[in-house]
Structures are given as C-alpha cells and as structure tokens.
C-alpha cells in the first residue's frame, strides 16, 4: 500500500481512538519505560510519525541520555571568561577573538558510518559538521580530521583507511575548505571501530551570530537544499525497522549510510551566507541526524513557540515516502530557516540565484505545540521541548574494571631498553617509521590546504593556523589531540593529557589558547567499566579546563564504539582554539637555519607508561601515563606565546609521542637542517630516558641567534626549566658520542611507511 494513501495514515485522531494498537517502539530503540513516558507526555499513544520523532530525538546520539548528567560539569566547572558569545547547547560554541570577529568551532564523530561505508561515511561527516558551523551564522573556513584505525597492516584497514581519507578529501576539497591538520593513529582496539572525528572552524562578525530559534508567530518555515530521500533513515540515530510506517518492507533494504553531495553543500554555504548578509533569516538550523524531526523540534523548542508543518510539502526524491520516513530521513545538504513573510520573495530570489531549492513547509505559531499534517490530516501534535530537550537522562552504573589495577601495576620498567649508541639509533629509526609516528603525507597530500589563501600552518605542524584578517594579520590556531593508550591506563589523566597536548600545540605556534571542543569516543555506556572510563574522562577534562582557564564550548559524544565485549580505548579527542595576534610571527616546527641553540623546555622524567616506545618496541601497554602538571603547561604556553611575540625563536615543537628524539627528528625533517645535541652528565648509550621518555609540559625550541640571553631570562621569569641541548645545522641528527643519522636516512624511514602500506 502506498504511504500517500492517506486513508492508512496513523493520525492523532486514530491514535486517540486506538490506544492499544501495538507499536514497534523496541525496534526503534525505545525502552518500554521510554515508550510509557511518551504516552504520559501526550496523554495517548503516539502516532507512527510522533513515535518516529521521539525515537530519533531520544536516541543516544541526539539526546545524550547517558552522558548529559556528566557533561554538565563542563558548564558547572567552566572557568570565568568573557570570550564566550554562545556556549554548550548551541550547534557550536562561539568565541570572541577581538577586532569584532568571532569564531565558532566544533568536532563531531562519524565513526559508525565510516566503518560501514568508509568513503560516504567520512564524506558526510565533513558535510554535517560544516552545516553546524554554517547554522551559527559563520562562514566555514577550515577543517581538521582526527583519524584512528585498526593495525596499519590489517587487511580491513586497507579497506577502511583509503575510503575514509578519500571521503574526507572528496567532500572537503569540493567544498573549498582547507584541511589544516589533524591526527592519524593506529591500534588494534580500533579494528572494527575506526574513529573519524572532523572539526570545522567558522568565522563571523559578532553581529552575524544566528541561533536555532523559531520566533515570531506567523513567520515561515523554509526547507532549503536537497530533496528528501529514503537514505540514512535512522542511520545516525536508530536502526531502521522493516515493520515501521506505511512504506512496506522495501524501506528496510535502503542504505542507512547517507550519500554526500559537496557541490550542493557549497551552494548551501554561499546561498546561506548571502541570505544572512541580506538580513533575511530570523533563525536557522541544519539538518543532520534525525533530519526534519530534529530541526523542527529544536527550532520550535529554541524559540519557545509552536510550529505548524505540512509534511506533504517537503520536496521528495522518492514519492513513496510517508510522514514517519520524511521525519527520520537523514538526506544530506539540507537546512531549515525561519523567514518573515514580507521577506520571502527576496529570500527565494537569492535561493534561485544559487539554484538552491527552497520550499515553505509551514509557519511558526504561538500555540506551544508542534503540529504536522499530511494531506490535511493531523499526524503530529506534541510539545516540541518534550522531544528536543526533555529526553530521558540516565545515570548509568559506572565501575572501575577489575583489571585496571593490574594494568597500572604492569610498569614498563621491566621492558628491555636500548643501552648503546647503535641500539638508540635503531630505536629512533623504528619509532619514526612506525605507522603511529611516521609521516602522514600519504593522507594529508590528498587534502587541499591552500584554498581560500589564508592557511599559514597546516599538516606537519603542531597546530593549524588560519589568517582571519588580511589587514591586521589576526589569526586563529587550532590543534586536535588524543591518546587512547594514555586514556586506557588512566582515563582521568588521559583526558587531561589530550587537552594539555592540544593546548601546548596551539601555544607552540605563538597563539594564546582560548577555548575547547571535544569528541568523546567510548565503548558501550551500558558496560559499567566503559561508563567509569567516561565519567573519569569527563571529570578530568572539566577539571583541567578550569585550571587552564579554557572553557569547553561544545562537543560530541560517541558511544558504542565496540565490537562484542571489546571496547575501544577510552579516546577523548580534544580540540583547542587559540588566537594569534599576528600570524606573520607564527612559529613553525622546522629547523630551517643553522647555528641556533636547541633548547628543551620543561622537566623530564623517565616516564614510559603508554609510551610510543613501549607500544612499538614491545607491544606493551601498562603502568601509568605521564604525570599531569597543568601549572607547568600554563607556564610553558605563556613562555612560547611571549617568545613568539618578541621574535626570539626560529622554531618550536611540542614533545609528545616518542619523546624528544622523535620531536627532534621531526624538527630536522620539517626544516631541512640537522642538529647536534647532547645530554650533560650522560655517558654514551645512557640517553634512553632523555630521548624517548614522554613527560608532558615540554617543547623543544631553536633560539634565534643573538636572542639567547633574552630567552633565558624570559624562561627563568616564567619558571620554565630549560636544558641546553646543542645546535642546529649539518646534514644529520647527531647525539654526541652515541649516534648520528643522516637526514636522508631519517626521511626515508619517516616517509616510506604509509606509501608502502597503502600504495
């Protein structure tokens, strides 16, 4: 039977008359209690269309029902700041960066779709986060990607990785957004559960800020962009159900991964920005997960108003779709705008200029109800906030897993260490050619970093740096970091270390860290051990943000990254945004000039828990991650920012995975100059801990010749310990007395790994 056959639609009237009709709430992912709660809210059973709305809006993905109670800490512990123009709860946080500019940024996951269909899964992940940024009123100006896969040599990684990278490349490049960096990591725990986290940055003037609110009864609801099709029904939210709605069994076979059209998205971006600039938009919301259901409920709830929507007005790609499917469809490249009737003609004129389909599908009302009709029959009549904001909240049981103490007790001190110059030499070569530390050029060369002409730093640097104003050289730096091994050993410290690394990376460009976004990737929240990891990570991140004075502006939670009983490592991925007063003074990682003093900043301990060395050389994961010292992180960041402002440094690079040795190798390869370093008091062959330890709060810098005294004084004033290591120059990286590696050999080791694996 056809869904257009209105005689068979489940209307509000029919729902009231048939209270006992069974409904497939369980197949749609709703528990019995949740279904009962809907009945209480409505005072009757929901219609099929209403059930569709609640099932997607109350899904974990949309409602954050397992995480919401914990995420409150980000607001409760937020450091005092005047920089935040919009915070958690909006599509993305908005930060004042001065000179009348504001930036908005957010990271989101597209993990599950990227495993099912790597190319489209990753591509539509880019599309979704870009629309979030556009919905705030900003022009999207850059993206970053944080990627994690199973073992680099696993057959399935050969399927997933090229597809994911190809999808990000395809969508981001076609959209004209420079990719300014990110992360690439491999671990067996991500086999079957790759992590694809994409960050987008947008720029606007303060007055351009838009909110997702349907205000002004009588204003029109306009759907913009692609036609609605059957793709991705329940894709991001719940599994599609064969028995659902009126469309029959055929619907179940349709793909649950959406298909992206970056060309349409580019038109939406340009059209949307022109509509904003012309003052024709009262409120706006992107259509992502849960599509029309999400946009209508959130806009109406955000405006505190009601809304009447004619679902049969939604332009379709497949005429057989019924109301429930239209509500749940996750067809890409769509937005919803609220427009004053008097301005509709101009609004539609701009849409026509950009060949963007725009359709009035309803209007804002003052009733406080979200009403939807299907060929005149009322099929939805709900309080919008009940779906958008008042979903269930669960405090799920959390318990430290029994193996955790044993894991932490399994110290890496028992592992055999290199003890001679030649052994240290080969250890460095092994580490910089390991997939986790090798040159990611195979990936990043597939991304356009140049488009828009404002990219100052991109992949291969500590952070991406984008110029915001060509006249004043104001810019924004962004880094995105995570470390699943640290998270596994201690989720509280692991989250803090991820934040600390991104914060340090932003400062290493000379920028001042200002705000935080995050993507919390975890296993199933129904597993108390995972829930414990999650609560620890959130608490750690919130505490550290408070200490460092950088507020969380928004983010994303991705649960259920697990196959059977095996969850991924707890992997909070943290993005830090900083403001750069003058991008012409940016610091980069490369040693480009000979004769500079090479100085290590920060205190070093022999810390190897969760280290790259333990993982690569021994396949070991145990002990405790490096100690967190947020005061030291703050001092280091202040020093790097001030030294950049005074022009004292030629290069700066944070020390993290693989320790100082890997950092030095990267500095040499990035700039083409070698270095000769030594460690006072060590006999040759004894430098293992100096070279490969992973103490946090450290960076290596090359000091501009002539600025040594001023930099030393500044370091002392700032309370940052300094160790003079040696000098830049020559064609090798040399540790005096122990070993030397010609840059050509370093480069071959560093750059050969991914091409050998992926072609």
């Amino acid at each position: 039977m056809s869904a257009q056959d209105t005689g068979h639609q489940d209307t509000v009237e029919r729902a009231a008359a048939t209270p006992d009709r069974p409904q497939p709430h369980a197949e749609l992912g709703l528990t019995g209690e949740e279904y009962q709660r809907i009945i209480e809210v409505l005072g009757r059973r929901p219609t099929d269309a209403e059930l569709a709305i609640y099932s997607v809006m109350w899904s974990e993905h949309c409602s954050y029902k397992s995480s919401r109670a914990h995420l409150r800490q980000f607001a409760d512990k937020a450091p005092p700041t005047t920089a935040l123009l919009a915070g958690i709860g909006q599509n993305a946080g908005v930060v004042d960066i001065g000179q009348g500019y504001a930036v908005t940024f957010k990271v989101e996951s597209h993990n599950h779709p990227s495993y099912v269909e790597p190319f489209q899964g990753a591509a539509t992940g880019v599309g979704g986060i870009v629309r979030d940024i556009l919905a705030m009123g900003a022009r999207p100006v850059a993206v970053m990607d944080s990627l994690r896969f199973g073992p680099a040599d696993a057959p399935d990684t050969r399927r997933v990785l090229p597809g994911v990278v190809g999808g990000i490349s395809f969508y981001g490049n076609c959209l004209g957004l420079p990719n300014i960096g990110g992360e690439l990591a491999f671990d067996a725990c991500y086999a079957g559960n790759p992590l694809v986290n994409v960050l987008c940055l947008g720029v606007m003037r303060h007055e351009d800020l838009k909110l997702a609110a349907a205000t002004g009864p009588g204003n029109l609801v306009v759907l913009l962009g692609s036609r609605t099709g059957p793709d991705g029904i329940g894709g991001a939210s719940v599994l599609a159900s064969a028995s659902f709605g009126g469309a029959g069994g055929e619907g179940a076979k349709r793909p649950s991964v959406q298909v992206g059209d970056p060309f349409m998205e580019k038109l939406l971006v340009e059209c949307g920005l022109e509509l904003y600039a012309a003052g024709l938009v009262v409120g706006v919301q992107d259509l992502g997960a849960a599509g029309v259901a999400c946009a209508t409920t959130e806009l109406a709830a955000g405006g505190g108003t009601g809304m009447r929507v004619r679902l049969d007005s939604v332009p379709l790609r497949d005429a057989s779709l019924g109301p429930a499917e239209i509500l749940m469809s996750e067809s890409q490249e769509r937005m919803m705008a609220i427009v004053e009737p008097a301005r509709l003609a101009r609004f539609l004129g701009i849409c026509a200029k950009w060949d963007v389909l725009a359709t009035v599908i309803g209007e804002v009302t003052g009733t406080g109800r979200l009403e939807m009709t299907w060929h005149g029959d009322v099929v939805v009549d709900i309080p919008p906030a009940s779906a958008a904001d008042q979903g269930p909240v669960y405090l799920r049981p959390a318990q430290c897993p029994p193996g955790q103490a044993a894991l932490q007790a399994d110290e890496p001190s028992r592992l055999a260490r290199p003890a001679t110059g030649p052994e240290l030499r080969s250890t460095l070569l092994v580490l910089i050619s390991a997939p986790n530390a090798s040159d990611p050029g195979w990936v990043t060369e597939q991304y356009d970093r140049y488009v828009r002409g404002n990219t100052v730093l991109a992949a291969g640097q500590d952070a991406g740096l984008v110029r915001v104003d060509e006249q004043t050289s104001l810019g924004v730096a962004l880094a995105i970091d995570g470390n699943g091994r640290y998270g596994r050993l201690d989720p509280y410290a692991g989250a803090q270390l991820a934040l600390a690394e991104a914060y340090r990376n932003v400062a290493a460009t000379g920028a001042r860290p200002l705000a935080v976004t995050n993507c919390l990737n975890f296993g199933s929240p129904e597993d108390p051990a995972v829930m414990w990891q999650f609560t620890e990570a959130v608490r750690g991140l919130a505490d550290a943000c408070l200490t460092l004075g950088v507020p969380v502006t928004g983010g994303n939670v991705s649960f259920y990254n697990q196959t059977g009983e095996a969850a991924i490592h707890p992997t909070p991925v943290v993005g830090v945004l900083g403001v750069h007063d003058d991008v012409r003074r940016r610091l980069s990682t490369g040693f480009r000039r000979a004769g500079c003093r090479v100085v290590l900043l920060g205190r070093s301990e022999a810390e190897f828990g969760g280290s790259l060395w333990a993982y690569v050389a021994h396949g070991h994961l145990g002990g405790r991650p490096p100690a967190v010292d947020l005061a030291a992180e703050r001092s280091l960041a202040l020093l790097l920012t001030e030294a950049s402002r005074r022009g004292l440094l030629e290069a700066a690079h944070d020390v993290s995975d693989g320790g100082l040795a890997v950092a030095l190798a990267e500095c040499c390869l990035a700039g083409g100059q070698g270095a000769v370093v030594g460690f006072p008091g060590r006999r040759p062959g004894e430098e293992f801990a100096d070279l490969f330890g992973e103490s946090a709060a450290r960076a290596v810098v090359a000091v501009r010749p002539g600025a040594e005294a001023e930099f030393a004084a500044l370091s002392e004033t700032g309370g940052v310990p300094v160790t003079d290591l040696g000098t830049t120059g020559g064609a090798s990286l040399e540790v005096t007395g122990s070993f030397a590696i010609p840059l050509e050999e370093l480069a071959a080791a560093h750059r050969g790994t991914l091409p050998a694996l992926f072609g």
């Binding site: 076609c174 060309f263 580019k266 060369e445 356009d448 828009r452 990219t455 110029r467």
Partner: protein, 225 residues
C-alpha cells in the same frame, strides 16, 4: 589606467577569491563575473578559477562550458581577449575547445595537493612575459583530474608552435603527457594551467611568491596594449 581583470564564479568555483586577491596584488582591478550573466562587463582579461564547477558532474568543465557567460567569453577569446584558466578553469577551456587536449584522472587515482616545480616553456605570452624562458617556479597543484592528454599529432603540434606554456620540472606528479603543466592558444592569449599560481603569491600562505608573475605579466600586457 588600471587593468580590469574579470574573475568568473561558477557554482562550485572555489579559488575565485584567491584569483581576485592575486589580480589585486598584481595591481589590477578585479571584476567579479557571474556564470549566469551573458556579460563580461568590459573587462580587459578574464581568469577562470579553480574549483569543481557544477560539482564536476559528467566530466570536469563539461557543464560549465555551457554557462551563459561562456557564450560571451568564447568569441571574445577567439579574437584576442587574454584568458587564463587555472585547474578547473583549464579543464573548462579544454571542454570549450579554446585549448586542445583534455585533463584526465591522475596516475595513482588520488587527489594530489602539494607544491611542485614548474618550468616556464613559453615566456612570450601575455600571461608569462614577466618570466624568463626556462625559469623554474614553485607552484601548487591540487586536483584529482590533472593528467594532461592529447593525441600524438596534437602534442607534436603544441611543441612545434610553442603552445606548451609550462612543464613539471621535477618528477611528473600525475602522468601528464610530455610533463605538460599548461598550454596556450597559438596566439598565446588563452592559457591553461594545472598548477595554481594564485596560491603562490605570498610566502606566508603558499610555497612562495613565484606565481605572481602570471598576473603581473597580464597587467603589463594590458597597460601597454
């Protein structure tokens, strides 16, 4: 009098603002042109920027060649209006038969974004007169369909008539025939380039400023014309 250089925006053009910036930095006035207008607004030269016009659906540049603005551009180019097509713009010029040959999928089948060495082969066109013959430039490629192809007779003819504008100086990045990075019309006024000169006008945001010469060449040619 400053030269007026038009930059066409098609739906899906991406590097149009970069082209505008380069035109301005070369001292000319940048005039935005819209794909849907049959109007060149009296410009002295035109740049077709990079991007994915019309999503590159069907074939790169295949739909853009039918845009209303092209109905004005093609005859004007045939009688001497200087036109530079960069990347997608080059693809459009080939589809419009203003330039011979075609751009096909890169060897390796992947998108490639990196700085490349490019050698100027013909320094006597309006777009290259500020360079010396044989001069090596560092420019940027970023495309997935950048491999230049043409039949052997066409390639021989291009060579004989000096229509090879530029070649890749280092390793051929994408399998282009005869290492060709750019070609021009017989008169030299219509030029197509896969590498992006507009992304190499400032060492802050690109690999250097070697690309600015394409735009200053045009400005000089227009002012002295």
């Amino acid at each position: 009098m400053t030269a007026r250089v038009g930059v066409i925006t098609f739906p899906g053009s991406l590097d149009d603002q970069d082209a505008v910036r380069a035109v301005r930095r070369a001292g000319a006035t940048a005039v935005p042109l819209w794909h849907g207008d049959r109007d060149l607004r009296g410009v002295d030269a035109v740049v077709l920027p990079g991007g994915f016009s019309y999503g590159d659906y069907l074939r790169c540049g295949a739909i853009a060649r039918f845009a209303p603005v092209m109905a004005e551009l093609v005859p004007a180019a045939r009688v001497g209006l200087p036109v530079l097509g960069i990347c997608n713009g080059f693809q459009i010029l080939c589809e419009a038969r203003l330039l011979p040959g075609a751009l096909t999928r890169n060897r390796g089948l992947r998108f490639i974004s990196r700085a490349v060495k490019t050698r100027i082969q013909n320094a006597s066109t309006p777009w290259t007169s500020d360079y010396a013959p044989g001069q090596e430039l560092t420019l940027v490629i970023k495309n997935i369909d950048g491999a230049y192809v043409a039949d052997p007779a066409t390639l021989a003819g291009l060579e004989a008539r000096g229509q090879v504008l530029a070649t890749y100086a280092g390793a051929n990045p994408n399998g282009s025939a005869d290492d060709i990075a750019g070609v021009c019309s017989e008169s030299g006024t219509v030029a197509g380039l896969m590498p992006h000169p507009e992304h190499a006008i400032d060492p802050l945001t690109g690999p250097g400023d070697d690309g600015l010469g394409f735009f200053t060449s045009a400005v000089r040619a227009l002012v002295s014309a």
